[in-house]
Symmetry: C2
Subunit: 249 residues, 2 copies
Amino acid sequence: MTGKEEPGWLAIAGLGPGDDQLVTPEVSAALAEATDVVGYIPYVARVAPRPGLTLHPSDNRVELDRARAALEMAAIGKRVVVVSSGDPGVFAMASAVFEALEGREDWQALNIRVLPGITAMLAAAAAAGAPLGHDFCCINLSDNLKPWEVIETRLRHAARADFAMAFYNPRSASRPEGFLKALTTLREECGSDRLITFARAVSTPEQRLLTVTLGEATPEMADMRTVVIVGNSATRRVGRFVYSPRSAG
Amino acid sequence: MTGKEEPGWLAIAGLGPGDDQLVTPEVSAALAEATDVVGYIPYVARVAPRPGLTLHPSDNRVELDRARAALEMAAIGKRVVVVSSGDPGVFAMASAVFEALEGREDWQALNIRVLPGITAMLAAAAAAGAPLGHDFCCINLSDNLKPWEVIETRLRHAARADFAMAFYNPRSASRPEGFLKALTTLREECGSDRLITFARAVSTPEQRLLTVTLGEATPEMADMRTVVIVGNSATRRVGRFVYSPRSAG
């Protein structure tokens, strides 16, 4: 597996929510074979340095540049892993890499694989019980990449469909008002008694879980390390757990 | 970790979609410590027998009985793993275990953990590219546990929210007409050009991927081992991949 004669490849890999015990053997094997690891600084920091491996940490919000740099390296024979936290296909690097393939038939011919990971909502749901045990949806509340009106429309349809809901990126320092608007919309649609779980830094030593009602929820309960899960109309507590029953209607 | 003095525990664990390389180290460690493994026959068959481990395979559609049997064993000091394929919190055993805890304060006091896994839609999306790279929903199309009207309402709201959609249990031998109805509803709401991916037995030697348009899709393209992913209005092909761009609106 060494030498310039070997063909390059690109793996877009999910490191899971934080605990190394949640990294799949498939991802560990790709990292062990890689010559280069590319990603956002805190995710690359989770990869142990070793001889023969070059780490390329980069700032956030440069996803397309990062994808192109990774593809360039694979094209010249490197074995490149693009790392995301969670799952690379859920609000992470996989879509950025495929966007970078547009119009580039040379890159489209490369050996490109997506290696799934434990996305944050699954780890958060597991820590809380089983709030996603019935039909659900998953919404990125960041309005960096879409107008707020799209988010609001999705929240209302999700509530009327009686989906449980998982929210990524609920609240940033630069746009604190978005999550307050989301809570207001959800209270209008779902009422004040609906359960909402704030799961921060799940699977890490800083994990913190809080379940309250929508009436009790405040924007400060979330930050950018928090996944928020809103139950459906049947979601309930049993003992210290929160779960959505399997049946509905 | 032996002897009757040790307290029992219950872990509800996800084995991932099929490939052992997608089983997390956390789940492997729980299985290595277990005295008893409980689950549906084909999932228990994925656990290697060893001295000191009793396997309890059972038929499907007895989830609550299976959950109670597992809790009974944990209550008398056994170390019990309830196995699901994929993630235990997504249309699998976790909700059944929490349902079994209702009214049983003795069982609620037990050491119960949910160990997340790679759920089928994440593995299917990874194999196809990144069709779930933007907001999406996840619907169990089986009408065993809910009336068809609930499913149809959810499909229409999901389409109007412009969610990508992942469907579990799209088609059973006993209810083949449900998936045809779903395709008809989706064509009405999304038009004939929308991309739909059929991902069968993902990560196993029998894996088969097919992406067509809604106009080309037929019910026979799915069976009970298939996860179906319908793109949003922006989902597109690039090379051999299918992906949903990160931005919308």
